[in-house]
Protein backbone atom coordinates (compact mmCIF):
# COMPACT_ATOMS: atom_id res chain seq x y z
CA UNK A 1 0.00 0.00 0.00
CA UNK A 2 1.36 3.36 -0.94
CA UNK A 3 -0.33 5.50 1.67
CA UNK A 4 0.30 5.78 5.36
CA UNK A 5 -2.60 5.67 7.80
CA UNK A 6 -0.41 7.23 10.46
CA UNK A 7 -0.43 10.43 8.43
CA UNK A 8 -3.66 11.23 10.27
CA UNK A 9 -1.54 11.93 13.30
CA UNK A 10 -0.93 15.17 11.42
CA UNK A 11 -4.59 16.12 11.42
CA UNK A 12 -5.01 19.56 13.08
CA UNK A 13 -7.48 18.23 15.65
CA UNK A 14 -5.15 15.41 16.70
CA UNK A 15 -2.24 17.85 16.79
CA UNK A 16 -4.21 20.08 19.13
CA UNK A 17 -4.68 17.05 21.35
CA UNK A 18 -0.91 16.61 21.46
CA UNK A 19 -0.53 20.30 22.10
CA UNK A 20 -2.92 20.04 25.06
CA UNK A 21 -0.91 17.11 26.38
CA UNK A 22 2.27 19.14 26.06
CA UNK A 23 0.79 22.23 27.74
CA UNK A 24 -0.44 20.05 30.58
CA UNK A 25 2.91 18.31 30.87
CA UNK A 26 4.85 21.57 31.23
CA UNK A 27 2.21 22.69 33.75
CA UNK A 28 1.06 25.66 31.73
CA UNK A 29 -1.83 27.61 33.21
CA UNK A 30 -3.67 27.13 29.91
CA UNK A 31 -7.23 26.04 30.62
CA UNK A 32 -10.58 25.94 28.88
CA UNK A 33 -13.34 27.27 31.15
CA UNK A 34 -15.48 24.30 32.28
CA UNK A 35 -18.73 25.70 30.80
CA UNK A 36 -16.99 25.90 27.41
CA UNK A 37 -15.68 22.36 27.70
CA UNK A 38 -19.19 21.16 28.48
CA UNK A 39 -20.64 23.12 25.57
CA UNK A 40 -18.07 21.65 23.17
CA UNK A 41 -18.96 18.20 24.41
CA UNK A 42 -22.71 18.82 23.91
CA UNK A 43 -21.99 20.33 20.51
CA UNK A 44 -20.05 17.26 19.37
CA UNK A 45 -22.79 14.92 20.54
CA UNK A 46 -25.40 17.01 18.74
CA UNK A 47 -23.37 17.19 15.55
CA UNK A 48 -22.56 13.50 15.36
CA UNK A 49 -26.10 12.43 16.23
CA UNK A 50 -27.67 14.83 13.75
CA UNK A 51 -25.31 13.77 10.99
CA UNK A 52 -26.02 10.10 11.61
CA UNK A 53 -29.76 10.71 11.63
CA UNK A 54 -29.63 12.59 8.34
CA UNK A 55 -27.67 9.88 6.59
CA UNK A 56 -30.02 7.22 7.94
CA UNK A 57 -32.99 9.12 6.54
CA UNK A 58 -31.79 8.61 2.99
CA UNK A 59 -30.92 4.93 3.46
CA UNK A 60 -33.26 1.95 3.59
CA UNK A 61 -33.04 -1.11 5.81
CA UNK A 62 -30.11 -3.15 4.51
CA UNK A 63 -28.32 -6.33 5.48
CA UNK A 64 -25.22 -4.27 6.26
CA UNK A 65 -27.19 -2.22 8.74
CA UNK A 66 -28.72 -5.21 10.49
CA UNK A 67 -25.39 -6.99 10.65
CA UNK A 68 -23.48 -3.94 11.91
CA UNK A 69 -26.01 -3.24 14.64
CA UNK A 70 -25.99 -6.93 15.54
CA UNK A 71 -22.22 -6.90 15.97
CA UNK A 72 -22.46 -3.69 18.00
CA UNK A 73 -25.02 -5.15 20.36
CA UNK A 74 -23.13 -8.41 20.69
CA UNK A 75 -19.91 -6.56 21.59
CA UNK A 76 -21.81 -4.43 24.07
CA UNK A 77 -22.67 -7.58 26.02
CA UNK A 78 -19.52 -9.57 25.39
CA UNK A 79 -16.96 -6.99 26.47
CA UNK A 80 -18.35 -6.21 29.94
CA UNK A 81 -18.97 -9.92 30.58
CA UNK A 82 -15.47 -11.08 29.85
CA UNK A 83 -13.92 -8.02 31.44
CA UNK A 84 -15.75 -8.65 34.70
CA UNK A 85 -14.87 -12.32 34.63
CA UNK A 86 -11.21 -11.51 34.03
CA UNK A 87 -10.89 -8.79 36.67
CA UNK A 88 -13.10 -10.30 39.37
CA UNK A 89 -10.29 -12.40 40.83
CA UNK A 90 -7.90 -9.44 40.87
CA UNK A 91 -10.08 -6.62 42.19
CA UNK A 92 -13.14 -6.07 44.37
CA UNK A 93 -16.43 -6.92 42.71
CA UNK A 94 -17.26 -3.22 42.65
CA UNK A 95 -14.08 -2.18 40.88
CA UNK A 96 -14.38 -5.06 38.45
CA UNK A 97 -17.96 -4.11 37.62
CA UNK A 98 -17.07 -0.45 37.16
CA UNK A 99 -14.22 -1.24 34.79
CA UNK A 100 -16.45 -3.66 32.91
CA UNK A 101 -19.01 -0.88 32.41
CA UNK A 102 -16.28 1.51 31.28
CA UNK A 103 -14.83 -0.79 28.64
CA UNK A 104 -18.14 -2.28 27.60
CA UNK A 105 -19.56 1.15 26.86
CA UNK A 106 -18.19 3.58 24.28
CA UNK A 107 -16.56 6.99 23.82
CA UNK A 108 -18.47 9.32 21.52
CA UNK A 109 -15.45 11.57 20.96
CA UNK A 110 -13.30 8.65 19.86
CA UNK A 111 -16.11 7.78 17.44
CA UNK A 112 -16.15 11.33 16.09
CA UNK A 113 -12.39 11.25 15.62
CA UNK A 114 -12.79 7.94 13.78
CA UNK A 115 -15.47 9.39 11.51
CA UNK A 116 -13.21 12.35 10.74
CA UNK A 117 -10.44 9.84 10.03
CA UNK A 118 -12.61 7.96 7.52
CA UNK A 119 -13.71 11.15 5.82
CA UNK A 120 -10.11 12.17 5.44
CA UNK A 121 -9.32 8.78 3.91
CA UNK A 122 -12.36 9.09 1.67
CA UNK A 123 -13.87 5.81 2.90
CA UNK A 124 -17.68 5.43 3.08
CA UNK A 125 -19.60 4.11 6.07
CA UNK A 126 -23.24 3.70 7.07
CA UNK A 127 -25.17 6.47 8.80
CA UNK A 128 -26.56 3.78 11.09
CA UNK A 129 -23.17 3.60 12.80
CA UNK A 130 -24.40 6.48 14.97
CA UNK A 131 -27.18 4.14 16.05
CA UNK A 132 -24.53 1.56 16.91
CA UNK A 133 -22.88 4.20 19.09
CA UNK A 134 -26.14 4.78 20.95
CA UNK A 135 -26.92 1.06 21.26
CA UNK A 136 -23.53 0.33 22.78
CA UNK A 137 -23.74 2.96 25.49
CA UNK A 138 -26.12 1.38 28.00
CA UNK A 139 -25.95 -2.44 28.14
CA UNK A 140 -22.59 -2.52 29.91
CA UNK A 141 -23.77 0.00 32.48
CA UNK A 142 -26.84 -2.00 33.34
CA UNK A 143 -24.89 -5.24 33.56
CA UNK A 144 -22.37 -3.61 35.86
CA UNK A 145 -25.01 -2.23 38.17
CA UNK A 146 -26.68 -5.63 38.42
CA UNK A 147 -23.35 -7.28 39.19
CA UNK A 148 -22.60 -4.71 41.85
CA UNK A 149 -26.03 -5.12 43.39
CA UNK A 150 -25.50 -8.87 43.63
CA UNK A 151 -22.12 -8.32 45.28
CA UNK A 152 -23.63 -5.81 47.64
CA UNK A 153 -26.43 -8.09 48.75
CA UNK A 154 -23.91 -10.82 49.54
CA UNK A 155 -21.98 -8.53 51.83
CA UNK A 156 -24.19 -7.63 54.78
CA UNK A 157 -21.43 -5.47 56.30
CA UNK A 158 -22.11 -2.63 53.93
CA UNK A 159 -25.85 -2.98 54.34
CA UNK A 160 -26.03 -0.42 57.11
CA UNK A 161 -26.39 2.35 54.57
CA UNK A 162 -28.62 0.47 52.20
CA UNK A 163 -31.25 3.01 53.19
CA UNK A 164 -29.57 5.73 51.15
CA UNK A 165 -28.35 3.59 48.25
CA UNK A 166 -30.26 4.58 45.14
CA UNK A 167 -32.91 2.09 44.08
CA UNK A 168 -32.59 0.03 40.91
CA UNK A 169 -35.34 2.05 39.26
CA UNK A 170 -33.54 5.27 40.01
CA UNK A 171 -30.31 3.94 38.53
CA UNK A 172 -31.99 2.75 35.35
CA UNK A 173 -33.52 6.19 35.10
CA UNK A 174 -30.07 7.76 35.46
CA UNK A 175 -28.60 5.49 32.80
CA UNK A 176 -31.29 6.18 30.23
CA UNK A 177 -31.86 9.88 30.85
CA UNK A 178 -28.23 10.89 31.20
CA UNK A 179 -27.90 14.13 29.27
CA UNK A 180 -25.10 13.02 26.95
CA UNK A 181 -26.94 9.83 26.06
CA UNK A 182 -30.26 11.58 25.51
CA UNK A 183 -28.79 14.37 23.40
CA UNK A 184 -27.16 11.86 21.08
CA UNK A 185 -30.45 10.00 20.77
CA UNK A 186 -32.48 13.18 20.29
CA UNK A 187 -30.16 14.61 17.64
CA UNK A 188 -30.21 11.31 15.81
CA UNK A 189 -34.00 11.40 15.78
CA UNK A 190 -34.12 15.04 14.67
CA UNK A 191 -31.59 14.38 11.91
CA UNK A 192 -33.68 11.42 10.79
CA UNK A 193 -36.92 13.42 10.80
CA UNK A 194 -35.60 16.50 9.02
CA UNK A 195 -33.29 14.69 6.59
CA UNK A 196 -31.61 16.64 3.83
CA UNK A 197 -33.73 19.75 4.34
CA UNK A 198 -32.59 19.84 7.95
CA UNK A 199 -29.01 19.19 6.96
CA UNK A 200 -29.04 22.13 4.59
CA UNK A 201 -29.88 24.63 7.32
CA UNK A 202 -27.88 23.04 10.12
CA UNK A 203 -24.72 22.15 8.22
CA UNK A 204 -22.79 25.42 8.69
CA UNK A 205 -23.11 24.75 12.42
CA UNK A 206 -23.02 20.97 12.77
CA UNK A 207 -20.72 20.34 9.81
CA UNK A 208 -18.46 23.16 8.68
CA UNK A 209 -17.10 24.31 12.02
CA UNK A 210 -16.96 20.79 13.49
CA UNK A 211 -13.25 20.32 12.87
CA UNK A 212 -12.37 23.52 14.68
CA UNK A 213 -14.65 22.75 17.60
CA UNK A 214 -13.20 19.24 17.77
CA UNK A 215 -9.68 20.71 17.78
CA UNK A 216 -10.60 22.92 20.74
CA UNK A 217 -12.23 20.04 22.54
CA UNK A 218 -9.29 17.71 21.98
CA UNK A 219 -6.92 20.38 23.22
CA UNK A 220 -8.92 20.41 26.44
CA UNK A 221 -8.87 16.61 26.53
CA UNK A 222 -5.10 16.76 26.18
CA UNK A 223 -4.89 19.05 29.19
CA UNK A 224 -7.20 16.75 31.14
CA UNK A 225 -5.29 13.62 30.16
CA UNK A 226 -1.99 15.22 31.15
CA UNK A 227 -3.30 16.07 34.60
CA UNK A 228 -4.79 12.61 35.04
CA UNK A 229 -1.63 10.86 33.87
CA UNK A 230 0.22 12.72 36.58
CA UNK A 231 -2.06 11.32 39.26
CA UNK A 232 -2.20 7.89 37.77
CA UNK A 233 -1.20 5.33 40.37
CA UNK A 234 -2.09 1.95 39.03
CA UNK A 235 -0.50 -0.24 41.65
CA UNK A 236 -1.61 -3.34 39.85
CA UNK A 237 0.40 -3.47 36.65
CA UNK A 238 -2.32 -5.68 35.27
CA UNK A 239 -4.63 -2.67 35.07
CA UNK A 240 -2.17 -0.62 33.06
CA UNK A 241 -1.73 -3.55 30.73
CA UNK A 242 -5.49 -4.02 30.53
CA UNK A 243 -6.05 -0.40 29.53
CA UNK A 244 -3.78 -0.84 26.52
CA UNK A 245 -4.41 -4.47 25.56
CA UNK A 246 -8.19 -4.60 25.95
CA UNK A 247 -8.73 -2.11 23.10
CA UNK A 248 -6.62 -4.30 20.81
CA UNK A 249 -8.52 -7.46 21.77
CA UNK A 250 -11.93 -5.80 21.49
CA UNK A 251 -11.08 -4.25 18.15
CA UNK A 252 -9.81 -7.60 16.87
CA UNK A 253 -12.99 -9.43 17.85
CA UNK A 254 -15.11 -6.73 16.22
CA UNK A 255 -13.03 -6.85 13.04
CA UNK A 256 -13.30 -10.62 12.95
CA UNK A 257 -17.07 -10.54 13.28
CA UNK A 258 -17.39 -7.76 10.71
CA UNK A 259 -15.27 -9.77 8.29
CA UNK A 260 -17.29 -12.92 8.84
CA UNK A 261 -20.54 -11.04 8.20
CA UNK A 262 -19.19 -9.34 5.09
CA UNK A 263 -19.46 -5.73 6.31
CA UNK A 264 -17.82 -2.86 4.47
CA UNK A 265 -14.43 -1.40 5.36
CA UNK A 266 -15.86 1.77 6.91
CA UNK A 267 -18.37 -0.04 9.09
CA UNK A 268 -15.83 -2.63 10.20
CA UNK A 269 -13.39 0.10 11.19
CA UNK A 270 -16.01 2.00 13.16
CA UNK A 271 -17.16 -1.17 14.95
CA UNK A 272 -13.55 -1.82 15.88
CA UNK A 273 -13.18 1.70 17.23
CA UNK A 274 -16.42 1.55 19.19
CA UNK A 275 -15.50 -1.79 20.72
CA UNK A 276 -11.99 -0.59 21.54
CA UNK A 277 -13.13 2.67 23.07
CA UNK A 278 -13.94 3.12 26.74
CA UNK A 279 -16.50 5.53 28.12
CA UNK A 280 -15.41 8.52 30.14
CA UNK A 281 -18.54 10.63 30.18
CA UNK A 282 -21.72 8.60 30.49
CA UNK A 283 -20.30 5.70 32.48
CA UNK A 284 -18.57 7.68 35.22
CA UNK A 285 -21.68 9.87 35.49
CA UNK A 286 -23.80 6.84 36.27
CA UNK A 287 -21.30 4.59 38.02
CA UNK A 288 -20.07 7.10 40.57
CA UNK A 289 -23.66 7.34 41.68
CA UNK A 290 -24.67 3.70 41.31
CA UNK A 291 -21.49 1.97 42.46
CA UNK A 292 -19.94 4.45 44.91
CA UNK A 293 -17.83 1.63 46.34
CA UNK A 294 -15.77 1.52 43.15
CA UNK A 295 -12.69 3.68 42.96
CA UNK A 296 -12.89 6.27 40.12
CA UNK A 297 -9.11 6.63 40.16
CA UNK A 298 -9.07 3.13 38.69
CA UNK A 299 -11.86 2.97 36.13
CA UNK A 300 -11.93 6.61 35.15
CA UNK A 301 -8.17 7.08 35.01
CA UNK A 302 -7.62 3.95 32.94
CA UNK A 303 -10.19 5.16 30.45
CA UNK A 304 -9.18 8.81 30.16
CA UNK A 305 -5.44 8.67 30.75
CA UNK A 306 -4.57 5.51 28.87
CA UNK A 307 -7.24 4.08 26.60
CA UNK A 308 -8.52 7.35 25.16
CA UNK A 309 -5.12 8.77 24.11
CA UNK A 310 -4.04 5.35 22.86
CA UNK A 311 -7.11 5.00 20.68
CA UNK A 312 -7.12 8.43 19.07
CA UNK A 313 -3.40 8.44 18.35
CA UNK A 314 -2.18 4.91 17.63
CA UNK A 315 -5.45 2.99 17.72
CA UNK A 316 -7.18 4.64 14.78
CA UNK A 317 -4.41 4.08 12.21
CA UNK A 318 -3.75 0.61 13.61
CA UNK A 319 -7.35 -0.58 13.33
CA UNK A 320 -7.60 1.01 9.92
CA UNK A 321 -4.44 -0.70 8.70
CA UNK A 322 -5.75 -4.02 10.00
CA UNK A 323 -9.12 -3.62 8.27
CA UNK A 324 -7.73 -2.46 4.95
CA UNK A 325 -5.14 -5.24 4.95
CA UNK A 326 -7.72 -7.91 5.75
CA UNK A 327 -10.30 -6.60 3.30
CA UNK A 328 -7.87 -6.05 0.40
Amino acid sequence: MSYNPFSTLLDPAILFFFFGLFAGAVRSNLSIPPPIAKFLSLYLLMAIGFKGGVSMASAGLTWGMVAALGVALFMAFLVPAYTYWFLRSRLSAFDAAAIAATYGSVSAVTFIAAVAFLEQQGVAFGGYMAVALVLMESPAIIMAVLLANTARSRNPASNGDAAVMPSAGKILHEAFTDGAHLLLLGSLAIGFITGDAGKKVMDPFTGNILKGMLAFFLMDMGLLVASRIRELRLNAKVLAAFALVAPLINASIAIGLAYALGLGVGDAFLLAVLSASASYIVVPAVIRYAIPEANPSLYFSMSIAMTFPFNITLGLPLYFAAVTTLWS
Binding site: P34, D161, M165, P166, G179, A180, L224, I281, P284, Y289
Partner: protein, 97 residues
Protein backbone atom coordinates in the same frame (compact mmCIF):
# COMPACT_ATOMS: atom_id res chain seq x y z
CA UNK B 1 -31.73 38.69 65.16
CA UNK B 2 -32.26 35.07 66.03
CA UNK B 3 -29.73 32.32 66.78
CA UNK B 4 -29.53 29.60 64.11
CA UNK B 5 -27.23 26.81 63.08
CA UNK B 6 -25.26 27.34 59.89
CA UNK B 7 -24.74 24.00 58.16
CA UNK B 8 -22.22 23.84 55.31
CA UNK B 9 -22.15 20.66 53.25
CA UNK B 10 -19.63 19.93 50.48
CA UNK B 11 -20.40 16.99 48.18
CA UNK B 12 -19.72 16.01 44.58
CA UNK B 13 -22.20 17.71 42.24
CA UNK B 14 -23.85 14.45 41.27
CA UNK B 15 -24.88 13.90 44.89
CA UNK B 16 -26.95 17.11 44.97
CA UNK B 17 -30.31 15.60 43.94
CA UNK B 18 -30.11 13.11 46.79
CA UNK B 19 -29.12 15.83 49.21
CA UNK B 20 -32.04 18.00 48.11
CA UNK B 21 -34.35 15.07 48.71
CA UNK B 22 -33.06 14.82 52.25
CA UNK B 23 -33.54 18.54 52.80
CA UNK B 24 -37.07 18.24 51.49
CA UNK B 25 -37.86 15.27 53.70
CA UNK B 26 -36.39 16.97 56.78
CA UNK B 27 -38.16 20.25 55.97
CA UNK B 28 -35.24 22.42 56.94
CA UNK B 29 -36.53 25.33 54.88
CA UNK B 30 -34.22 27.41 52.73
CA UNK B 31 -30.75 26.69 51.40
CA UNK B 32 -28.15 28.20 49.07
CA UNK B 33 -25.99 26.23 46.61
CA UNK B 34 -22.69 26.98 44.89
CA UNK B 35 -21.58 24.60 42.13
CA UNK B 36 -18.40 24.21 40.07
CA UNK B 37 -16.13 24.05 43.12
CA UNK B 38 -12.89 22.16 43.32
CA UNK B 39 -11.28 20.60 46.35
CA UNK B 40 -9.21 17.94 48.00
CA UNK B 41 -10.20 15.29 50.50
CA UNK B 42 -9.89 11.61 51.28
CA UNK B 43 -10.89 10.74 47.73
CA UNK B 44 -8.18 12.85 46.14
CA UNK B 45 -8.31 16.01 44.13
CA UNK B 46 -11.48 17.27 42.47
CA UNK B 47 -10.54 19.79 39.80
CA UNK B 48 -13.94 21.39 39.32
CA UNK B 49 -13.71 20.43 35.66
CA UNK B 50 -14.46 17.58 33.31
CA UNK B 51 -16.63 17.78 30.25
CA UNK B 52 -19.70 16.79 32.21
CA UNK B 53 -18.64 18.38 35.47
CA UNK B 54 -17.36 14.96 36.55
CA UNK B 55 -14.91 16.41 39.05
CA UNK B 56 -16.85 19.33 40.42
CA UNK B 57 -18.01 19.72 44.00
CA UNK B 58 -20.92 21.74 45.28
CA UNK B 59 -21.43 23.48 48.60
CA UNK B 60 -24.84 23.81 50.23
CA UNK B 61 -25.38 26.26 53.07
CA UNK B 62 -28.43 25.86 55.28
CA UNK B 63 -29.45 28.21 58.06
CA UNK B 64 -31.97 26.60 60.37
CA UNK B 65 -33.04 26.49 64.02
CA UNK B 66 -30.99 24.17 66.20
CA UNK B 67 -34.03 22.01 66.90
CA UNK B 68 -34.27 20.95 63.26
CA UNK B 69 -30.82 19.57 62.71
CA UNK B 70 -30.49 16.22 64.49
CA UNK B 71 -32.46 14.18 61.96
CA UNK B 72 -30.95 16.10 59.10
CA UNK B 73 -27.39 15.42 60.21
CA UNK B 74 -28.23 11.75 60.57
CA UNK B 75 -29.23 11.51 56.94
CA UNK B 76 -26.34 13.65 55.79
CA UNK B 77 -23.89 11.42 57.63
CA UNK B 78 -25.15 8.39 55.68
CA UNK B 79 -24.85 10.24 52.42
CA UNK B 80 -21.30 11.35 53.18
CA UNK B 81 -20.37 7.81 54.16
CA UNK B 82 -21.50 6.61 50.74
CA UNK B 83 -20.24 9.39 48.49
CA UNK B 84 -17.66 11.33 50.53
CA UNK B 85 -17.69 15.04 51.31
CA UNK B 86 -17.78 17.14 54.45
CA UNK B 87 -20.28 18.82 56.73
CA UNK B 88 -19.54 21.66 59.13
CA UNK B 89 -21.94 23.10 61.69
CA UNK B 90 -21.47 26.47 63.36
CA UNK B 91 -23.42 29.17 65.17
CA UNK B 92 -24.80 32.28 63.55
CA UNK B 93 -27.38 35.00 64.01
CA UNK B 94 -30.20 35.30 61.44
CA UNK B 95 -31.27 38.81 60.52
CA UNK B 96 -35.08 38.83 60.63
CA UNK B 97 -36.83 40.77 57.92
Amino acid sequence: MEPVKRIEIVVAEFVLPDLFEILKRRRTGGYTVATGLSGRGDRGVQTGEGTAGEFANACVVIACPEAAITDLLDDVRKLLKLYGGMCLVSDAMWLKH
